[in-house]
Amino acid sequence: MSRLPITKTPKVYVGGAFIRSESSRVFPLPDARGDFFANIPQCTRKDLRNAVEAAAKAGPGWAKRTAYNRGQILYRLGEMLEARAAEMTAALIRFGAPKARAAREVGLTVDRLIYYAGWADKYEQVLGSVNPVAAPYFNFTVTEPMGVVGVIAPDTLPLLGLVSMVAPAIVSGNTVVALASERHPYPAILLGEMLATSDLPGGVVNLLTGFRKELVPTFATHTHLRAISAAVTASERKTIELGAAESVKRTHFVDAEKTDWFGDRAQSLYEIRDFLELKTTWHPVGA
């Protein structure tokens, strides 16, 4: 008699722990053939609130790490994903990705992490400046992370899209609360497991699963989220912008359909810049 396999209970990764929704709600996720795969947490507004708190708690420590250290941790993330590439590829295939594309998506996701890992101790040198003011002052502009960034990931390329949006936000010291693809949430669940075994401190990346309709308005209005990076529809965009106005939140939109996630343009120094504040300091020069 063949052995009955143990199935995994998918949980979301929040604050460094694997949790169910506080509401205990789940939704059934079928695989590409239509067979039942697992129940996925249907996260609520309160789960989002809790995730933002976890992200806010992790923020100062993450931002204070040296750029070199953040770069190494992002690199380690790449290592973890590379090591479990087969598992991730299989998951993508199970939910409908053609084989070749799935392998390519996983490989490029690793590369994207490595790309941003390398920026960690360099973007400041390109984006900051010393400014020659017309008075006896030393004046310089540095970049700083914004704080907690909300990410709403695309359905197309659920792994690469998500990582392409999360990595440039966290490399500079932001922390992230991300809503995984509604249609293909499982890669994000799996990614959470890989994050947990990397050196990334708990709370730096928090991954929620659930329904956009339920969560997007809360992403929009939560004032502790200082920025939103979203791959959304036009009407969702309006919702986010209306909500963002209430606390002068920074918004960054990605056109999921037009974006060539595999292309070089999908990764850029300016994706990092979009989640940075610029701070200028003046000090007199004199003895």
Binding site: Y137, T141, V248, L269, E277, L278, T280, T281, W282, H283
Partner: protein, 503 residues
Amino acid sequence: MPTLVSARKKAASGRNGRSGPELIFGDLWPYDPAPETADPKLKPRYELFINGEFVAPKGGKYFDSINPANEQKLAKIALAGAADVDAAYRAARRAYETVWSRMPGRERSKYLFRIARLLQDRAREFAVAETMDGGKPIKESRDFDVPMAAAHFFYHAGWADKLEYVAPGRGVAPLGVVGQVIPWNFPLLMLAWKIAPALAMGNCVVLKPAETTSITALKFAEILQDAELPPGVVNFVTGAGETGAAVMGHPLAAKVAFTGSTEVGKIIMRSLAGTGKKMTMELGGKAANIVFDDAPINQAVEGIVNGIFFNQGHVCCAGSRLLVHEPVAGEILAKLKNRLKVLRVGDPLDKNTDIGAINSREQLAKIHELVDSGVKEGAALFQPPCRLPAKGFYFPPTLFSEVTMSHRIASEEIFGPVLSILTFRTVDEAIEKANNTAYGLSAGVWTDKGSRILKMSTELKAGVVWANTYNKFDPASPFGGYKESGFGREGGRQGLLDYAKLI
């Protein structure tokens, strides 16, 4: 933790604090009136500036611009309606497509240099006009606003043919027509902050000055004509909130840039939700100016005064919340009181005036309301004896001590010559109090310890940190806020990028 030094100091000031020696700032040597007499060359009536020409508003309506120093009418200003705003945008779009976006940067650059030079030529005339229209002291419009406005054009002129250095690794392109709405506190300077980078990048502009301070923008239009700037590259539409809404909401605006209150900024953000327009918001502030016990106290007192009384406190980055280290709180309050006695409040055109007129009756009422709330909520008020002119809008320099974070005067932007003084005991407490606000535009820190300066500068959630100084500006220095103080920067290479798209 206070140092031993400051403990000794505190003991000393306590010993002599009660009925100690006083300085006399009396009338032994009063200054005679010293009015600036240069001719501001005002016209009785100002039209809209559209497509390189002064044109009457289609609705035929005008409003009065008054001098807040004496409530006298200065000129009639055209009231732009939606049709006028539309005409301005069409002219701008035409200029953008046919001339400005096609012109080599080298040539655009020369126009901006010309503008800078022509403004320098007429500096005194503009300073007088600015002071009469807005109420700020002539020494500020003469020594700060106008020269700084010219400097912004000069700085950005040099960028126009060097745009490939703005975004390393990427090319940049102009956005198109930019709609800009500016406030009344630095009318000409805000105009320069907005127009210079937009034009350097190759954009065209429709700008609305503040309702109470339109005159220098329309005088500036004369300079644009003298500079032979191609028609339509810059257009001025004057009016109040309705005109502003039309400027912000016009479909031809690829980007809008707004400087003003957080309240109005949010309204604009809401109204533009879903339109895809780019935005820059430079909004309100409630900056903490933090003084440690090891600071150069006498210069800190100057910095505090400059931080809150510059331009009557009509400054979004004003150091309106003074956070003083407890060991030196008594000394600083005493020194501030003496310093306030020397400030000269009165006729803005007098060269010796330090604090001029409040910009409008409405603003004066708002200041009164908030100051009354401070008194009601139990803060200790100090105002030096001073004679305010009978006509016009004036408010004496005001200190509130014994303020706590829950007082309205500690959290709301007063935008007037009113300083709220709070105390702190430790570095962490100073940081917490400074950051305990929805705003994040600027902050000040005064200490002699280098490593503490850098620590504070890192921890303060503000776009500009002045260490051992306050209220300093430069075209090369990016300016703009964190949190509800807005987003985007003005000035420097970083500010320029906000007027570009990456290609």
